[in-house]
Symmetry: C2
């Protein structure tokens, strides 16, 4: 077997791009920075989306859909938010093309079809949504509003990478409205917890839970809660954020309600989102030099059965029988019916695709009433009695899910380093990478200087960080709490 | 109870708008021609989407996602398609805003951030997709490609109406690639059939199945298959189209494959779509002067239980018991727990929402071991023994589904009028409306003249239209087949 992809040690970034390409997850497109999500990549997104959607609905949220475009006057209404996104947005200025008189068969923008007001392609939807909520909210009886939308958004990023950072991406964005500050904060925290559960239980991706420093907050938020994961190259990935928006958008869009004493008050808000970026996190948390590794709970195909050397009738019959029994347990199964490729080629292909369990069924196996079970995570193989294969596989999928989480967690835990000097800080960043727990004086100035000198940023301040007397590694000023730094995607 | 909405007889168009608003389906937005789909409207769309998605997957299709933007040079590559959409598309010309120096706190388009090539917000995705398929297809072994995407598209329509015609809408668009003409045609027909089954079995909306005249074809198609429904005002609604695209896009984007003799051939294509427009069709097929009427298979809430006069513990206990039993059968149930509104108000509200079955449970009912069952479609009420209510409701939902279809079909069937002269044609259009079956000489010229004089267009040529000698109602020239005319949305 020729080596298919670049090794992680050799070139981590190329390794990532190779997996995206060879596992058929995404492709480049003719549009700068926009990717095509291929069917296999999209199937993973569907699994993620369906699970998240279920969790949102179980916690009382409903879906809706708001326009793609934001008129410029609304976009600029909440100034901090506008400032945060102004430099990276796609702007619609015209609504018609016409034949180019100088260029037969070509079209040109019709200068007579200029919009009176430019439209921004949504980079996020707070503005258009809060402008709508104004009409929906009169009284405290109209609150809370707990709405989510699944949508595409556009941020004109200069450097893009498939899934991790693209000009257009798919996401969900929740936008909730509340009668009190406490209720809004508790909503933001509820979703923060929900994201962490999703990341850990479904993606098998351990996350740190914390809040952002002022510098790293969402533009327009009073507080940003974040889940931060660690990739295999020691860089952090912000995997999901949940924002307490205070009354900033209510002020900007004049959204008030009458409380039970019939007094007008400004509405409290949250917003929260995760995106197709999670697929990038999934790839980089588990995959290896043979290709993608998927946790069973998000694998579009959980088990593949390969008749060896070919799909002959006798083997196919048994394969169908096993497939049928597995499917009855809710397990997704593919039977390889290809007659042209050799088993070795197929094995490599399914490893590249990250299918959690591979069953190899040969004639001798059938005679011996056994089957070969290969797990993708550890690449261990074992021969199992055919009568026992279904419960064995069912348990194995749980084992793999758990093993992937434990493996990622032990890597992550061993890459949280406590440092007490800036020298150590730089040393750890340069060698070991990962999360660095250290004291910081709480100023944006220090944060920016550290970023300038090392490219590391404060990923979060842990929710459960203990009070601890210390001094800032950079300024030497007093600090009462450690924070988490890392280089990040 | 004050009359909530305008009657159909009084003002059909206002009646439609009233239902959209009062049933909380959609709202206007700050963006010209773009609507906000509210949670209840979106829940109906989710039911439609999930069912269609299931049907697509069962017929071998997979989902993927392609970019929102189409570079102008790709957009114009297939000339007929480009011509068809050029006059109604949103165009992105810039990628950055900056502070307006003359207007503190305001933003302006940054003239330094002009795109080298303009990007069209997709009105449909053939261009971007076929530009991608070129890289995916080398050999006949790469075919067929059977891809669907769920996406938003933008068509800058001048006159818009919620769901029926909006500048941005949600849809699915299938784009398939095939090695032979026969296979592509058979794919287009498969989806045409699938759409008809969905419309009739799930939406309870009878449709005529036919193909479009050349004039009415999708821009860039060799053949367009359509399903056409009839609304209660006698106007037709094109509800879904499936296009055989020939090799037009393969030619424009140079997409070839090597056949099994290793000869290069151009790839054959189809595309097909249905959109949130279907919600407009659903409203106008079944609803009445009391509000929305929904077929049970697409109703987000199928049964509502109203404790009368209030949600007292004893009543709530029984309501929970019934709800539990219904849910176990896969029926969606809401129990009204509101303590402030009167039953009459609630009944009117649930009628407005089109909930198929309403159960009214009072104390005397409980004593008598009965419950009041009201069906939304006929507004009949009956008192049912409590022990029997669960199977009764289960059957009733099927009855309602069937009744809605039969009622709509009998209206539709009685509104297909055979005419043989242009006088009759105009007379029927002016009085009865509906579909008109008549002879036409097959020329675009005649079709356009009829449209000019009457606003009626050829909706379709029925697939099963018998050969029949006749003369064109307009030109008197010979014709071998009747076609279906109507005024349309």
């Amino acid at each position: 077997m020729a080596k298919e992809i670049t090794g992680r040690e050799e070139n981590y970034s190329q390794w990532y791009n190779d997996i995206v390409k060879k596992a058929n997850l995404a492709d480049n497109s003719a549009v700068r920075g926009c990717m095509v999500i291929k069917p296999y990549g999209y199937a993973i997104w569907e699994k993620m989306r369906d699970q998240l959607d279920k969790m949102f609905k179980e916690t009382g949220h409903v879906n809706a859909y708001f326009p793609l475009f934001v008129p410029k006057s609304l976009f600029e209404a909440e100034e901090k938010n506008a400032e945060g996104f102004a430099k990276e947005c796609a702007i619609v200025t015209h609504y018609r093309l016409k034949n180019d008189p100088d260029n037969k068969g070509k079209l040109m923008v019709d200068p007579d079809a200029k919009l009176e007001e430019e439209l921004i392609v949504r980079p996020t939807s707070e503005a258009i949504i809060w402008n709508t909520y104004r009409d929906w909210i009169q009284s405290y009886r109209d609150l809370p509003i707990l709405i989510n939308q699944w949508a595409n958004v556009v941020r004109w990023e200069m450097r893009t990478r498939p899934f991790l950072r693209t000009a257009e991406f798919l996401w969900q964005e929740g936008h909730t409205a509340h009668a009190s500050k406490a209720e809004a904060i508790s909503e933001a925290r509820l979703i923060h917890d929900l994201y962490a559960v999703f990341a850990e239980e479904f993606m098998a991706m351990p996350v740190l839970k914390g809040y952002k420093s002022e510098n790293e907050r969402f533009a327009g938020a009073d507080d940003t809660f974040t889940i931060e994961a660690l990739m295999q190259d020691g860089k952090a990935l912000q995997a999901g954020t949940s924002h307490f928006l205070g009354q900033n958008f209510a002020k900007a869009f004049n959204v008030t309600f009458s409380n039970d004493k019939n007094e007008k008050e400004l509405v409290w808000a949250t917003s929260w989102g995760v995106s197709t970026r999670l697929i990038g996190g999934l790839i980089m948390t588990h995959s290896d030099d043979e290709g993608l590794v998927l946790p069973p709970k998000l694998a579009p195909i959980q088990v593949v059965i390969v008749p060896i050397p070919k799909p002959e009738p006798e083997l196919m019959e048994k394969a169908e029988e096993i497939s049928h029994a597995l499917k009855a347990l809710g397990i997704s199964v593919k039977i390889d019916k290809d007659e042209t490729k050799r088993p070795g080629f197929k094995f490599a292909e399914y490893e590249m695709m990250g299918i959690p369990v591979r069953l190899g069924l040969g004639k001798r196996d059938l005679e011996n009433n056994t089957i070969e079970v290969a797990r993708r995570d550890t690449k261990e193989k074992s021969s199992i009695g055919l009568d026992n294969v279904v419960p064995f596989v069912e348990n194995l999928l749980d084992d793999i899910q758990e093993n992937l989480f434990n493996r990622a967690k032990s890597y992550r835990d061993s890459h949280i380093t406590l440092v007490d000097t800036f020298e150590q800080f730089k040393e750890v960043l340069a060698t070991k990478g990962g999360f660095i727990s250290c004291h910081w004086d709480g100023t944006s100035e220090t944060e920016e200087k550290i970023k300038e000198e090392t490219k590391a940023t404060i990923r979060c301040i842990l929710l459960d960080a203990p009070e601890e007397t210390g001094v800032c590694i950079y300024s030497g000023r007093p600090s009462s709490k450690r924070v988490i730094f890392a280089k990040a995607y």
